[in-house]
């Protein structure tokens, strides 16, 4: 079991796009994942304010939701996104890292349901939330 978790962790850390955005995995265990992405000027979506693009937040959300599914005890291995909906509550404050916490709250034989929240330094006011459905791979 810890081996599976270690493999899942290595897999998430080896994702080229996650590496390119300098995402760091803070937690990945029992269907819950926490990932942080630093502020990066390459990711600016609004040049007037320096606010990060929603697309970069999507990448963080998707990675974190996938990590939560992969470390759920009922999931045998990898996963793929079936659908992902993101609600953007407010602009992330420029200069601050964004942290996402995803929880895989229900798993069937074929589908994993996930919720995630992204915040910047003001942790009481989410920047965005996400809900998604992911594939579940057979137990090995």
């Amino acid at each position: 079991m810890p081996d599976k978790l270690k493999l899942a962790r290595q897999f998430i850390e080896a994702i080229p796009h996650a590496q390119d955005l300098s995402m760091t995995l803070a937690k990945m265990d029992a269907g819950e994942a926490v990932i942080t992405m630093p502020y990066d000027e390459r990711l600016i979506g609004d040049p007037e304010t320096g606010v990060i693009s929603g697309g970069a937040v999507s990448a963080l959300m998707d990675t974190c939701c996938g990590a939560a599914v992969m470390c759920h005890p009922e999931n045998g291995g990898g996963t793929a996104t079936i659908d992902l909906r993101i609600d953007y509550m407010r602009a992330a404050t420029p200069g601050q890292p964004i942290t996402t916490r995803a929880v895989c709250y229900h798993v069937t034989r074929s589908v994993a349901f996930v919720r995630a929240t992204a915040t910047d330094d003001d942790t009481d006011n989410p920047v965005a939330t996400a809900t998604g459905a992911f594939t579940v791979e057979g137990k090995r």
């Binding site: 994702i15 080229p16 796009h17 007037e48 697309g55 999507s58 990448a59 993101i86």
Partner: protein, 166 residues
């Protein structure tokens, strides 16, 4: 009767406007995206790049990249359709030497992506359709494909808050 404008001038004006709209956003440059234009129709183009991989074993495009690609296509297409009349009439002139301020982009309220098949390590294309654009809100649908136009790898619907006119 007024003579129609020479085609080069019309094209130049449209392409300048598109370049100003797209070129000012660092994240679009980061993804390596561009837009093809045929008249008023835009197609988002995302050339494949290793840094966009989400599953190195397959390899497949990152789901977040797919979402970002569709969202950028939706935002730019919505903005483009909203600015079109002003671009055509010449009342909006994107002359960089004049220091024209770029129009603000619409703000995404929510974006919901349907992943239909895994994104292959190939170029991807996307076209958005503005389903409804009111004064304050808009709803946009966008389709993404790779090798075959009929085989979508993802589609999405998003809601947006329209920018206030300057």
């Amino acid at each position: 009767m007024k003579r129609p404008e020479p085609v080069q001038i019309v094209k130049q004006r449209r392409d300048d406007a598109l370049r100003a709209l797209v070129g000012g956003v660092p994240y679009i440059q980061y993804l390596g995206m561009s837009f093809d234009r045929r008249g008023d129709e835009l197609t988002g183009v995302l050339p494949f790049d290793k840094k966009l991989i989400g599953n190195p074993l397959l390899p497949a495009l990152h789901g977040g990249v797919t979402a970002a690609f569709l969202e950028v296509t939706a935002v730019i297409t919505l903005s483009w359709s909203y600015l079109w009349e002003d671009i055509e009439s010449g009342s909006l002139d994107f002359d960089p030497s004049q220091g024209t301020r770029l129009p603000r982009l619409p703000k995404t309220v929510d974006f919901s992506v349907d992943y239909l098949r895994s994104g292959l390590p190939r170029d991807a294309y996307a076209r958005a359709r503005v389903i409804r654009a009111g004064r304050r809100y808009a709803s946009v649908h966008v389709e993404g494909w790779q090798d075959n136009r009929d085989k979508l790898f993802a589609q999405a619907t998003g809601h947006f808050v329209m920018p206030q006119r300057r």
